[in-house]
């Protein structure tokens, strides 16, 4: 059943995030040039990494959905992309704050990673409008999966193209590994990535549980009200009673 292990998972997430941020704040040394503002990379970069992985994960679930026609994979793909979008907003905002703090501008076109991220984010922003504009729920699920597979494959291709376009104008300002970070910084950084990934998984599980509860509620109402109850169009996946696993 969905939602059974949410409490321990949530607790673990809270402690992981607190621990990772504590490492970032006190254990990792202050950056020589940028001072405290550099600490935002412990939030911004993990958010961005988790967002992109979430999009690709949504694409992988979409492949499974196309292969099996099992609506549960569509739900997983939808939820993965939806949560990644929310993380993506956070990554964009923290990225802009960081650009403002270190370069004095809110947006920096020469920062290839940021630009690539924006393009990917804009592409995935059409996911819900696409779903919403298709009425037949089965076709909606299938088309959304085709989109998710294509957009998921686009993530690495886009990063390659944008990076190439910029390579000769502007050397990479920041590298997330190697010479850019000291050993202590790396430890704190990877702890933050891991905690953020756990946070993503928790949010994903929460939304899955929420959607499942809603399906079951609908199924019950349909049993009471007969087959005649109609529901409005929705961008979220719909499932039928027969698709749901038996309650345990």
């Amino acid at each position: 059943m969905y939602g059974t292990r949410l409490r321990p998972l949530s607790t673990a997430t809270v402690f992981a995030l607190l621990g990772a941020f504590a490492l970032a704040a006190w254990y990792a040394p202050m950056d020589a040039d940028q001072g405290f503002t550099q600490k935002i990379i412990y939030v911004h970069v993990p958010l961005a990494i988790v967002t992109l992985c979430g999009f690709v994960f949504g694409g992988i679930m979409a492949i499974k959905h196309l292969r099996t026609r099992d609506p549960r994979y569509d739900l997983r793909s939808y939820t993965a992309i939806h949560v990644a979008q929310i993380f993506g907003v956070g990554a964009l905002i923290t990225g802009m704050i960081w650009a403002r703090a270190s370069w004095g501008v809110w947006w920096e076109w020469r920062e290839a990673t940021l630009v690539s991220f924006l393009i990917v984010f804009l592409l995935f922003a059409t996911y819900q409008p696409l779903r919403f504009s298709i009425e037949d729920p089965e076709r909606q699920a299938r088309y959304a999966s085709v989109f998710a597979v294509t957009a998921g494959a686009f993530v690495p291709v886009n990063f390659l193209a944008v990076r190439l376009a910029d390579a000769y104008i502007h050397p990479r300002v920041l590298t997330t590994s190697g010479s850019g970070l000291t050993a202590e910084m790396s430890v704190a950084f990877f702890a933050c990535v891991a905690a953020m990934a756990l946070f993503y998984v928790t949010m994903w599980r929460f939304e899955l549980a929420h959607k499942h509860t809603r399906f079951q509620l609908r199924a019950l109402r349909r049993k009471l009200g007969g087959d005649e109850i109609a529901y409005g169009r929705s961008a979220a996946p719909q499932m039928l009673d027969s698709d749901l696993p038996a309650p345990s």
Binding site: P137, E138, R218, D227
Partner: protein, 231 residues
Amino acid sequence: MGPEDADPALVLDGLVRRFGERTVLHDVTLTLGRGRTLVVFGPNGAGKSTLLRVLATLLRPHRGRVRILGQDLPDQAWAVRGRIGLLTHEPLLYRDLSARENLRFHARLHGVPAARVEELLEAVAMRLRADDPVHTYSRGMVQRIAVCRAVLHDPEVLLLDEPRANLDPAASELLEPLIGRASGRTRIITSHDPAGGLAEGDLALGLKRGKQALLRPVGDVSVAEIGALYR
């Protein structure tokens, strides 16, 4: 039990098709022998067109067994696709192309020689207008070309959605050898006309809100019973 019953053209067992959370076809179960005709009655929205689209392999069944010409749908749809002809309210013709161009396009898709196109144009008395664009035709003429399209590849099973809706009696007679009983094909016909429909078929199926309300040989069905489906 005739020999055709051993290898029926169509077997449906508990066919279910849904549209989202709405069930459009509930547990439809029947068997139809080769060369026989099934007439499907029912008010608008009863699921008649959906049934035809499932049988034409355009929609997948959600549950139950569908066996047509000895092949199970949807897994073996590829094996029956070239052996079924579908005639719906939409003629499936490009309006800016002529009848001849449309039929030649379909002939190429089905691997049928171009001579068959000429033969059919002759049969439906459309030879003189065959090079005019389809959008200049009357509805009856469009229907005649649509019939040609449906039987172009000489299908063993014909799925006909109110085939005589736009036809005058003369045109209806013209099409008889192609889609009538004389064609010798297994036919599934939807109809709103109780008397005419019963005269055409061997087996009558009544659908009401997607449920199978009636299934009997036409001899045992009265016109009044069909009329009751619509109430």
